[in-house]
């Protein structure tokens, strides 16, 4: 199948219309799409990077916990949403593309399509500082 599932297409279209950073990943964690607001966090445009593996995109954030320790990729909300099929939320620090440390909160939830198909997950970021 060449075309993405309709649920992913509609999620992308919704994300394109919203102003907060939104990331859309497939069941393996590969980044399928991120919107313009998310481009500012990643420091690159979706049209330039295309899809990215989980390792590629998560390393760009260099997420740091409140106590200063690195947040492992598997502890990020998107990873939890994918692996445990539940919503997850976490506040942490990242260094954005502009080099400035920012405190963000991320909420992620799994995408279950018609017929129980696991389609991936959506992550939404809020800047807290």
């Amino acid at each position: 199948m060449f075309q993405k599932a309709i649920e992913l297409i509609l999620t992308r279209q919704l994300a394109s219309s919203l102003a907060m950073p939104i990331f859309l990943v497939d069941p393996s964690g590969s980044l399928l799409f991120y919107n313009e607001a998310a481009e500012q966090l990643l420091g690159s445009r979706y049209d330039e990077t295309g899809e990215m593996s989980m390792r590629q995109w998560s390393s760009r954030f260099a997420p740091i916990a409140e106590d200063g320790s690195p947040v492992p990729a598997e502890a990020l909300p998107l990873s939890i949403a994918l692996q445990k099929q539940r919503a997850a939320h976490l506040a942490f620090w990242i260094r954005g593309a502009d080099g400035v440390a920012k405190k963000v909160a991320a909420t992620a939830f799994p995408l279950e399509g018609q017929g129980g198909r696991q389609l991936g997950a959506v992550g939404i970021f809020w800047e807290e500082s």
């Binding site: 075309q3 993405k4 992308r12």
Partner: protein, 278 residues
């Protein structure tokens, strides 16, 4: 395959002298295989006349519903083969996460909306959710996939040998896209229509009407043309005409479309009674 349009209108039946050529009946398309298997796409009011023609027939009928909006099921209770004892009829429809197909159809085919219930029909009736994978009916390959339209809605691709037709009567692939068409892989309905010999596609609105009805699940003619170009179909049949569009207006839209640019496919008028062989 031979494809016959029994109903081409969208949203509401619109009979009258001003719609006599494009037709007033809502969505219903007959697909007849080389071996004479009968597939019916949607059960709008157009299915009533098809049922009369089928009077006395004995063969199996497979009815594929794209979704359960009223204009696509209103003719179901008037489809004569349903009242023919022993006639084998299969109704296929999109799955819902909450109710099965029988329960959803019974909302219409039961009092007080209709006097006859599904369980009272004397035919041999079987109801099926369309599976997500390709499947075969009477030697034809069927592919159903969810498309962009409010509520669970599928489009269909039907293939016989190397020939194929796609049916997307209610489809808004341009929804939320600032520049349509975008990448093929992010376009609703692309896999269903890609390379089809014949595409029957929603073209309900003018551009001006679409601007006021974004999100209602339908396409303006330019978006239908763009979708047909992107998918590389051989022929396009604009379909699901708005009930307020009379023959004169649809003729004007057709003429303006042909005059505006060279199309990479053949544009056919979506008139009730039209027959296409592929």
């Amino acid at each position: 395959m031979r494809i016959t349009l029994w109903g081409t209108r969208g949203s509401l039946a619109a009979p009258g002298p001003e719609t006599i050529r494009y037709g007033g009946n809502t969505s219903c398309v007959e697909v007849r295989s080389k071996k004479n298997a009968l597939l019916v796409l949607d059960a709008g009011t157009g299915i009533q006349r098809l049922g009369v023609r089928e009077r006395g027939g004995a063969g199996r009928i497979d009815l594929f519903l794209t979704h359960l909006h009223m204009d696509h099921i209103q003719g179901l209770g008037f489809f004569e083969p349903l009242y023919q004892p022993g006639r084998e009829i299969h109704i296929w429809g999109p799955p819902s996460p909450t109710l099965d197909l029988r329960s959803r159809l019974a909302r219409y085919l039961s009092p007080p909306l209709f006097p006859v219930g599904l369980r009272d029909l004397p035919c041999r009736l079987a109801l099926h959710n369309v599976p997500p994978e390709r499947f075969e009916v009477a030697g034809l390959e069927i592919k159903a996939d969810l498309v962009c339209h409010p509520g669970p809605t599928v489009g269909y691709r039907i293939s016989e040998g190397s020939r194929s037709m796609a049916y997307l009567p209610d489809h808004e692939p341009a929804l939320g896209m600032c520049d349509f068409p975008g990448p093929a892989e992010w376009t609703s309905g692309f896999d269903l229509a890609a390379g089809a010999d014949l595409l029957i596609h929603d073209a309900q609105y003018t551009v001006e009407e679409y601007d006021e009805r974004i999100g209602w699940g339908h396409s303006a003619m330019p978006d239908a043309l763009a979708f047909a170009t992107l998918t590389g179909v051989g022929r396009l049949v604009p379909f699901h005409h708005d009930p307020t569009h009379d023959d004169a207006m649809l003729d004007r839209v057709d003429s303006a479309t042909r005059a505006a640019r060279q199309l990479p496919f053949e544009l056919l008028a979506g008139t009730e009674g039209s027959i296409f062989d592929i």
